[in-house]
């Protein structure tokens, strides 16, 4: 069975169409979406309507949450003051144009999805806003997979796709408690994987192409897909709709501009 997983569409209808065509070409049996259907991009309603029409199981992303709950993240959710300012502009625009039924749909999305030994989340199992970047410590990464009870954790949020394998994890522990004898404990974990699906509509891997992943369960093979599309159409729509031009600039380059988090593992507590 082939499972296609995509994330972070961000209102980019052109990119979504291209990815759906590519998924069709690869004859995927199932599609999952890891949220952030809206925000930054010019077609939030069309994207949500397409996902609904195709009945694609989707979990809620941080942008979807913010559109439903109101912008409730503190400034630490944004990696820089500049990013925060631009993010708020995009939030306000999206909030104005979103249809009521689209907002309702986003509100009822689950935080995680499960399919046998696969788990699907937006950021991490602990928080939609947590970034599981490739450089996250291997033990921290392993904890995130183990917390789900799955073997493969699919996530998005960083907009950069990757496959991380964590194998032969083991820990030696000694526990001393008052009134009990000292205990030595061994902990071991078999192969666990984190698969980041990248971003359909706002890629940040250095090229403008949309990214997603296909997991072949029979062959146990994960393929990172990069799909070309007419990104200039989306860039033009961003400008035409009065969204910050920087979103078009970075979409055309596949770059995260001046928005690297000082502490990407930080989780907003609000």
């Amino acid at each position: 069975m082939k499972v296609a997983v995509m994330s972070c569409i961000h209102g980019n209808y052109e990119a979504l169409n291209a990815v759906l065509s590519d998924i069709d070409d690869h004859k995927a049996d199932k599609i999952y979406c890891l949220g952030d259907l809206v925000g930054y991009g010019p077609h939030p309603n069309a994207v949500v309507e397409m996902i609904r029409a195709l009945d694609i199981p989707t979990c809620q992303g941080c942008w979807d949450e913010d559109i439903v709950e109101g912008l409730n993240s503190c400034e630490c959710s944004y990696p820089s003051v500049l990013a925060e300012k631009r993010g708020k502009l995009a939030h306000d625009w999206t909030n104005q144009v979103i249809h009521p039924e689209v907002r309702e749909f986003l509100a009822q999305l689950p935080l995680s999805l499960r399919d046998e030994n696969l788990c699907f989340v937006h950021g991490s199992p602990h928080n939609q806003h947590e970034y599981l970047l490739p450089e996250v410590d291997a033990f921290v990464a392993m904890e995130r997979v183990l917390a789900t009870g799955a073997d493969i954790l699919f996530c998005g949020h960083t907009h950069v796709p990757y496959v991380r394998s964590l194998d032969a994890g083991q820990l030696q522990i000694r526990v001393k408690s008052t009134g009990t004898t000292e205990r030595d404990i061994s902990f071991s974990a078999p192969l666990k994987r984190i698969v980041n699906a990248g971003s359909v509509g706002e890629p940040r891997h250095g090229r403008p192409n949309a990214t997603y992943v296909i997991y072949d369960t029979d062959a146990d093979q994960i393929t990172l897909r990069e799909v070309e599309y007419d990104y200039q159409k989306t860039c033009a729509a961003i400008i035409d709709n009065g969204l910050p031009p920087i979103f078009a600039w970075r979409l055309a380059r596949g770059l995260e501009f001046a928005e690297r988090a000082d502490d990407p593992t930080h989780v907003c507590e609000r």
Partner: protein, 245 residues
């Protein structure tokens, strides 16, 4: 460097706190730092006196450094100053009546002091916190899975995490560990690399006020990285008798 005394959960029990302070004064090795890992208060009328005592140490006593605990967080939520708007956790654990009981127990003028407390303290390579780096409600115990313990340490890159939420005294040493990690991106693949974990530990510092007549706390020797647990019995006819771990 002299010892640290680390305690948690006075829970508005002034006699228990006085017994611990008296025990600290009797120690051969002087205590340089006194850390209180939250739950200074509880829904008791004595809480106000405990706050006053904590804020006004005597001349020969170390000045306590205090962080927020579970009860402090509940109080702040009631006053609209917490991380969430509703006291859901308080009601789930103790029922709706507890909202009024806690509100009435702590005078409003004390709330600003509670609000000024840090979420946690970081000294040398040690994180001192009520629950964990996740929240005040996070209860670490000797039975917490190892990978979860390691996560709580690594979130703040601490070598030692002192906590008090469980009320238990324990020392949980992560002595060694490895995992093999490999990465594939669109542009490159890295071959598998063995990643080792350095030794780290989580220490439960016990509870001062919850159990009538018996308080527990921890001593830490930063130079030797040694932990010692103290149990102090107090009240009529019990004297002050430190017990070995």
């Amino acid at each position: 460097m002299n010892d640290w005394a680390i305690l948690s959960g006075i829970e508005g029990n002034l006699a228990a706190y006085e017994a611990v302070l008296a025990d600290i004064k009797r120690l051969r090795q002087p205590v340089e730092e006194l850390y209180i890992l939250g739950d200074v208060i509880a829904p008791t009328v004595e809480s106000e006196q405990v706050i006053q005592r904590v804020r006004s140490p005597q001349q020969n006593e170390p000045v306590p450094q205090v962080c927020q605990g579970w009860w402090e967080e509940q109080l702040l939520i009631l006053h609209g100053l917490g991380r969430t708007g509703e006291p859901t956790e308080l009601i789930e654990r103790y029922g709706i009546e507890m909202v009024k009981t806690l509100w009435d127990a702590i005078p409003r003028e004390m709330v600003e002091w509670v609000r000024s407390l840090d979420f946690g303290l970081f000294e040398l390579d040690c994180l001192l916190i009520h629950g964990s780096s996740v929240s005040v409600s996070d209860e670490l115990t000797p039975d917490t899975p190892a990978i979860q313990m390691l996560d709580r340490l690594m979130r703040m890159d601490a070598n030692t995490l002192f906590c008090g939420r469980s009320g238990l005294t324990f020392q949980y040493e992560i002595q060694q560990g490895t995992v093999t990690s490999s990465m594939t991106t669109l542009d490159r693949s890295t071959s598998p690399q063995a990643i080792a974990v350095k030794p780290r530990q989580v220490v439960g510092v016990g509870n001062v006020g919850r159990l009538p007549g018996q308080a527990s706390y921890a001593l830490y020797h930063p130079n030797s990285n040694q932990v010692e647990f103290r149990t102090v019995r107090y009240g009529a006819g019990k004297g002050f008798q430190p017990a070995s771990p």
